[in-house]
C-alpha cells in the first residue's frame, strides 16, 4: 500500500455565477478507506461529486488522483484515472439489458479497434467473451446474474441501485463515489446495501467515498467523516467526534428537512 492518497483535493471550489457552491474543500482518501461526506440538503455534496468526476471543472483548487493532477479532464478521463461513481437519482441505461449496462463500463479495457469491430475479428470474439464473463461475475456479486438479459428499467428499485454499483465497479476504479446509495430504500434493502458496500471494499480493496444526508447511516460504516454545509467544510474526523460537534448539530437542526 503506497503513501499517496488515492484521492486528494486542495482548496477545491466552484463558482456558479457568483454563488460559491463549494468552497475550500480539502479531503484525502487512502486506499481501502471508507469515508463519508455528509451535510444537510443543498449543502453541496453532489456538486463535490460532480467536481471529482469531471462533470464540472473547478474554478479554484486542484484534484489529484493517485498523485496525478486531473483538473480540466473530461469525465471519461477521470474514469481512466480510476474514479467511478453512482448517481443520486439512478442513471442507468434504462432501455439496455442489465448485462449491457455493465459491459458499457468495461469499454476502456476493450482492446479491439474499429477494424476488429467491423469485421468481427478473432480479437473481437475474445474480448467480447472476456467482457461477457467479467460482467456476469460482477452481476453475480449482487445476485443479478440471473437477470442479465432483463431490460434495466424493469428491475426493482433496490436492484437498480445495485446494478449501478456493479456498473461502476466494472470500470476497474481505485476509488468509488456513492451518491446517497440508500436513498429511497427500506431498512431491509439498506442493510443489504451496507453489506454489499463492505463486501466490495474487502474484495476489491478500493477506497469509497460515500455521500449521505442521513447521519446515522454513515456513523456505522465510515471510518472518517467530512461534514459540509453551504459549500464549506464545517467538521471532519471520526464519527464519534463529528456527531458531537456543535457546528454539525446546529447545521442539522437548523436546516434539516
Amino acid at each position: 500500500m503506497s503513501d499517496t492518497p488515492v484521492l486528494k483535493t486542495v482548496n477545491l471550489g466552484i463558482n456558479f455565477g457568483g454563488l460559491k457552491a463549494v468552497d475550500d474543500f480539502n479531503i484525502e482518501i487512502m486506499q481501502g478507506e471508507l469515508v463519508g461526506l455528509i451535510g444537510p440538503n443543498g449543502a453541496g455534496k453532489t456538486t463535490v461529486f460532480n467536481l471529482l468526476t469531471g462533470v464540472y471543472a473547478p474554478t479554484e483548487g486542484d484534484i489529484f488522483i493517485s498523485g496525478k493532477r486531473v483538473n480540466g479532464l473530461k469525465p471519461h478521463q477521470f474514469v481512466a484515472e480510476g474514479i467511478a461513481r453512482t448517481f443520486q437519482n439512478i442513471r442507468l441505461f434504462k432501455q439496455m439489458s442489465v448485462i449491457d449496462n455493465v459491459k458499457i463500463a468495461c469499454d476502456q479495457s476493450i482492446k479491439y479497434k474499429l477494424g476488429g469491430g467491423l469485421l468481427h475479428s478473432k480479437l473481437y470474439w475474445d474480448e467480447e467473451q472476456r467482457v461477457h464473463e467479467k460482467a456476469l461475475e460482477l452481476l453475480k456479486l449482487f445476485n443479478l446474474d440471473t437477470k442479465a438479459d432483463f431490460v434495466a428499467s424493469n428491475l426493482p428499485y433496490g436492484q437498480q441501485r445495485k446494478l449501478e454499483i456493479a456498473r461502476a465497479l466494472a470500470t476497474d476504479m481505485k476509488i468509488l463515489l456513492l451518491d446517497e446509495p440508500a436513498a429511497g430504500m427500506n431498512p431491509v434493502e439498506t442493510a443489504e446495501l451496507l453489506d454489499s458496500i463492505n463486501m466490495i471494499r474487502d474484495k476489491f480493496g478500493i477506497a469509497i467515498l460515500l455521500i449521505e444526508h442521513d447521519m446515522s447511516l454513515v456513523m456505522n460504516v465510515c471510518e472518517r467523516i467530512t461534514v459540509i454545509d453551504y459549500g464549506r467544510t464545517i467538521a471532519r474526523g471520526l464519527p464519534s467526534e463529528v456527531s458531537n460537534n456543535p457546528d454539525v448539530i446546529a447545521a442539522y437542526l437548523g436546516t434539516d428537512d
Binding site: 453532489t46 460532480n50 462533470v55 448517481f87
Partner: protein
C-alpha cells in the same frame, strides 16, 4: 447610399415577416418544447386563403386586405387542429423524438395536401395594398414596404403587451417556465397550449398577408424555406423569448437582404447572392455552437 437605404428597408420588410413567423415558433417551443415544423406551412395556408378570398372581399366593395380575417380564421383552425389531432396524443406519450417526427410529418402532410388540392404551380395573389411610393430626401420608398414594416412593429408591440400584462399572457409564461407547477397553481395547461397555437397561427396569417403583399404568389412549398429561416431567427434571438424572436427576425431579414445585394462585391466575386440561404444557415450553426441560448437567452446547464 440610396441603394443601401433601399436594401435596408427591404431587409426590415422581410425581417418583420420572419419576426412574426418566428414568434409562432418561439411561443410554441417555449410552451411545449417542440419545433413546430408545420408552422411555416401555416403561412401557405394563409396565402391560399388570400388567393381565394381577396376577390370575394373586393367584389363586395371591401378593401383587399380585409381578407386577412379569413386567413386568420383558416390558420387558427389549422393550427389548433394540428395541435389537437397530432401533437397532443404524441406529447402525452412523452417522447421528444416522436414529437419532432410528427411535426415533420405534419409539415409534409400540409404541403402535399395543398399540392393535391391546388396543384404544384403558383397561384397569383391579387394586389393587396394600393399605396403609392413615397419619396423622402431623394430616396423613393416603396409603399408596400413601409406598410409591411409598420404592421409588423404594431403586431409585435401588441403581442408583447399581451404576454406581459394580461392574465392569459401570464399563464402562457408560467406554463413555459414550469408546466407541473402551473398545474398546481390552477392554470389550465391544455387550454393555454391551445391558445398559444391559436395566437401563433394567427400571427402566421398576418405574416402571410405581409409576405403576399411583397411576393404575390401562393405555392404548396412556399412555407418551408420561409419557416426554416424564421426558425433560425427564433433560435438566433433566443428560443422561447418574445422580444428575441423580433430581434432575430429583423437580423435575419437584414443579413439576407444585404448579403443578396453586397455579397458579390464584398467577397470579390467568390460568393454570390445565391449563397444568402447558405449564410442564414451558417449563422444558425455558429450561434448554436457559440451561444446556444441565443442573443437574449440565458445558458442553463443540465442538472446532474
Amino acid at each position: 447610399m440610396a441603394v443601401f437605404v433601399q436594401q435596408l428597408l427591404n431587409g426590415l420588410k422581410i425581417g418583420s415577416v420572419y419576426a412574426l413567423v418566428a414568434l409562432g415558433y418561439t411561443m410554441v417551443y417555449g410552451i411545449i418544447k417542440l419545433i413546430n415544423f408545420a408552422h411555416g406551412d401555416f403561412i401557405m395556408v394563409g396565402a391560399y386563403t388570400l388567393v381565394f378570398t381577396i376577390p370575394l372581399m373586393v367584389a363586395s366593395g371591401m378593401p383587399a386586405w380585409t381578407a386577412v380575417i379569413f386567413a386568420v380564421v383558416a390558420c387558427v383552425a389549422v393550427g389548433v387542429g394540428v395541435e389537437k389531432v397530432a401533437y397532443k396524443p404524441v406529447r402525452e406519450k412523452g417522447n421528444r423524438m416522436s414529437a419532432l417526427i410528427t411535426a415533420v410529418a405534419m409539415s409534409l402532410f400540409l404541403e402535399n395536401l395543398a399540392q393535391v388540392l391546388f396543384g404544384a404551380s403558383p397561384k397569383t395573389v391579387s394586389n393587396i395594398f394600393k399605396i403609392s411610393n413615397i419619396t423622402v430626401g431623394g430616396v423613393t420608398l416603396n409603399g408596400n414596404t413601409i406598410i409591411t414594416i409598420i404592421i409588423g412593429v404594431v403586431v409585435m408591440l401588441v403581442l408583447q403587451a399581451f404576454v406581459q400584462n394580461t392574465k392569459m399572457g401570464r399563464a402562457m409564461r408560467a406554463v413555459s417556465e414550469d408546466r407541473e407547477a402551473s398545474i398546481l397553481a390552477g392554470i389550465k395547461v391544455n387550454q393555454t397550449i391551445t391558445l398559444t397555437f391559436a395566437i401563433g397561427s394567427g400571427l402566421a396569417a398576418i405574416a402571410s398577408l405581409m409576405y403576399c403583399a411583397a411576393y404575390p404568389q401562393a405555392m404548396p412549398t412556399m412555407g418551408s424555406m420561409l419557416g426554416l429561416k424564421a426558425f433560425v431567427a427564433a433560435v438566433l434571438g433566443g428560443i422561447g423569448i418574445v422580444p428575441g424572436a423580433m430581434i432575430g427576425g429583423l437580423v435575419i431579414g437584414l443579413v439576407e437582404s444585404l448579403s443578396k445585394a453586397y455579397l458579390t462585391t464584398l467577397t470579390g466575386g467568390v460568393l454570390t447572392s445565391a449563397f444568402s440561404d447558405a449564410i442564414v444557415f451558417g449563422i444558425l450553426i455558429v450561434v448554436l455552437l457559440i451561444k446556444p441560448a441565443g442573443i437574449l437567452g440565458k445558458d442553463v446547464g443540465e442538472k446532474v
